[in-house]
């Protein structure tokens, strides 16, 4: 992180989904995030906080409502056309959450993994086959599995197929959308280790979206916490996890059960009341004010901005307690 070069920069990235009668879902609302080269940024938050939408908007799978995304300093189009997809496919890719529904059941593994190459590389079909075979063995699958269909594989194997598909064009930046949450504990470790190894060997930059806080702390360099479409806090993963600043981060991490009975017996009840509010009617003020144990009058009128902490300039918190 010494000479960090920004790779992907989102500036006030916004994605609204329209509803009838002029209302809209504020899925992602003005998110500023800089992801540096060869960095893993973990993105955590409750379901409905806009993590996946942010990831998809960032790499152009969804058109942006507002804001910009810059890749190596060059602004990307607001809405991708076929040529944009063709160009960006070689630089940005995505690994999806559900290994059961993200693979086409009527395509063989060879067709699934090789589709990107076929469309964008112009390799001959025999070269293509060799590349697919080498990628299958690289993600820990037998190259002989090429002619099989997705239903013949277990969840962990399918996720490996998804990883091979995303990485075969050798992108620089990959959005991993909950790549392990559908998998069993023992298999999760296999997939996480594979991702780490590929990150090392290919020099990948990852946005790792997950709700498993322990795993995000483990794999990420920096951790970003999202709440209701906006970032609440971002900083080095270790610091954010062990000394959270934003009241929401604090509660989120305190709710995370640790696999250690003694720690759990000492745990104070930190249960948060209420649930994540609707992202449709968002008023002024802090989004978390309604559930926050420390909320002040100011929180209900003035939206806090994501600002660096005075004593820790690499940590950013959007909370009036710190400004």
């Amino acid at each position: 992180m010494s000479k960090a070069i920004p790779l992907v920069v989102s500036d006030k990235l916004t994605k609204f989904f329209p509803l009838p009668r002029g209302k809209k879902v504020h899925a992602v609302d003005g998110v500023d995030l800089t992801i540096h080269e060869r960095e893993i940024v973990g993105l955590v938050g409750e379901s409905g906080s806009g993590k996946t939408t942010f990831g998809k908007t960032l790499i152009g799978l969804l058109p942006k409502t507002d804001g910009t995304v810059k890749y190596r300093g060059k602004a990307l189009p607001q809405k991708y056309g076929p040529a944009d997809f063709k160009r960006q496919a070689k630089t940005m890719q995505m690994i999806f959450q559900d290994p059961y529904s993200s693979l086409n059941p009527r395509m063989t593994v060879e067709e699934i993994v090789g589709e990107g190459l076929k469309l964008y590389s112009g390799q001959s079909s025999s070269d293509l086959r060799d590349t697919v075979a080498s990628w299958l063995s690289r993600v820990g699958l037998e190259p002989d599995y090429m002619s099989r269909y997705p239903h013949e594989f277990s969840g962990g194997q399918r996720q490996r197929i998804g990883i091979a598909r995303a990485l075969i064009l050798e992108p620089e930046f990959v959005v991993c959308d909950e790549p392990i949450s559908a998998l069993d504990v023992s298999v999760q470790a296999q997939v996480v280790n594979l991702l780490e190894e590929l990150k090392q060997s290919m020099g990948l930059t990852l946005l790792f979206i997950a709700h498993d806080l322990s795993m995000v702390r483990y794999i990420s360099d920096r951790m970003a916490v999202m709440y209701l479409g906006a970032l609440a806090e971002i900083g080095p993963a270790h610091d954010v996890f062990f000394s959270p600043k934003h009241p929401y981060t604090e509660i989120l991490i305190a709710s995370n059960p640790e696999p250690d009975p003694e720690l759990e017996r000492k745990r104070l009840s930190t249960t948060i009341t209420g649930e994540i509010p609707s992202p449709v009617d968002i008023g002024a003020g802090c989004r978390f004010a309604g559930r926050c144990p420390h909320s002040m009058d100011r929180c209900r009128v003035e939206t806090p901005l994501l600002k660096p902490l005075a004593d820790q300039p690499d940590r950013y918190v959007a909370c009036h307690l710190y400004n």
Partner: protein, 366 residues
């Protein structure tokens, strides 16, 4: 073969012995549960832990008579509630015990409730069925139960339908329904898997408080070791249709007696701020239960496997009070023994792979 290590005079609240369940399919019969024995005490929480497909849900669904037979088949086993049989029947002394003596909550609250009935009616139903209460009396009790489950504005909420509730609220409503008749046992099948951590904490707190107030025993099925550490008194670790280790929650976490338990822990990140260790996955995948292996079901994935492990099934070795592990490494003839291999924290956390290469046991014992 009995796996029960505790000896008491009174019959335990719930005692399950040698439960075996198979499913007939076109491809042959799947041996989903292969000889499971456990007991549950009043006011305590037993966690059944294991990965998908290890038979934990089938075990409790069989107890509740929820496994359709056929294609399911009860091959052997007994289950008694305070000494009275509950297997193969839904009744004790002419009364349905399900809902009245054993309550159950399910993983997915969205699909487990009836979408065409109001929440209040669904909670009131068991009271009408089991206690013969009037519509009105049961409904007003349902409102109290919703309040107990910490649902705000319970009176209005009781008149709403499931689609008007969020996932966490539905799960709390389901708990209210399950405890309506004050059952002695609450079976919770992955109750928080579909929920966010903050909502999970709310639901777990609620279950813990209800247990304290009413002395309910809980059977908690989960694959999340964090939830186990938080909730359980006793833990049964299941693998390939069998309980491979059983002990108190501290036994399981601090004195593991089975390589599978050790492997599960090593595969999870630990949040010890001083330790930066890498994850050690369990290689391979669980065995095919159409034809389970003859020896130890875990042998193929076990870094400590010996010759005997693939030929004969290990018995439950008692390693402490109410603590057993089904692993040949506890056999007295095994040179080195379990302690030497797994007692040290460095081995437990980082040594699984290295031990495979250097273990003296690799060809030591036959």
């Amino acid at each position: 073969m009995t796996q029960n290590t505790s000896v008491t005079d009174e019959p335990p609240l719930l005692e399950v012995k040698d439960l075996k369940v198979e499913f007939d399919t076109y491809g042959g019969s799947v041996q989903a549960v292969r000889g499971v024995s456990f007991s549950v005490e009043e006011g305590k929480t037993l966690a059944i832990v294991g990965e998908s497909g290890c038979g934990k849900s089938v075990t409790v669904q069989t107890l509740m008579g929820l496994v359709p037979m056929p294609p399911g088949r009860l091959k052997s086993g007994t289950a008694t509630l305070r000494g009275r049989n509950i297997l193969g029947t839904s009744q004790i002394d002419g009364q349905d015990f399900r809902g009245s003596e054993i309550g159950m909550i399910f993983q997915d609250p969205m699909t487990s409730l009836n979408p065409t009935m109001t929440i209040g009616r669904q909670i009131a139903e068991p009271l009408e069925v089991h206690r013969g209460w009037s519509h009105k009396k049961a409904f007003s009790r349902a409102i109290e139960l919703l309040e107990m489950a910490r649902i705000p504005e319970a009176e209005q909420r009781a008149k709403q339908y499931p689609f008007e509730f969020s996932g966490g609220m539905l799960q709390r409503a389901m708990i209210a329904m399950a405890i309506a008749c004050e059952p002695a046992i609450l079976i919770a099948d992955e109750p928080t898997t579909a929920l966010d951590v903050t909502i999970q904490a709310q639901v777990l707190d609620l279950m813990g408080d209800l247990q304290q107030d009413h002395g309910t025993a809980i059977i908690l099925i989960t694959h999340d070791l964090g939830v186990v550490a938080r909730m359980a008194d006793e833990v049964a670790v299941m693998y390939a249709g069998q309980i491979v280790e059983r002990g108190s929650v501290d036994d399981i976490f601090y004195r593991s007696a089975h390589p599978y338990t050790v492997g599960l822990r090593a595969a999870m990140p630990s949040n010890d701020p001083s330790a930066r260790r890498s994850l050690i996955p369990i290689e391979g995948s669980p065995p095919d239960l159409f034809s389970p292996p003859t020896g130890c079901a875990y042998a193929a994935r076990c870094p400590y496997a010996m010759k005997i492990c693939s030929t004969s099934e290990p018995p439950p070795f008692v390693v402490g009070q109410d603590h057993f592990g089904k692993c040949w490494l506890h056999h007295e003839e095994v040179a080195g023994g379990w302690e030497k291999i797994l007692s040290g924290a460095p081995t437990l956390l980082t040594g699984a792979k290295m031990a495979r290469a250097s273990s003296p046991l690799a060809e030591n014992k036959s």
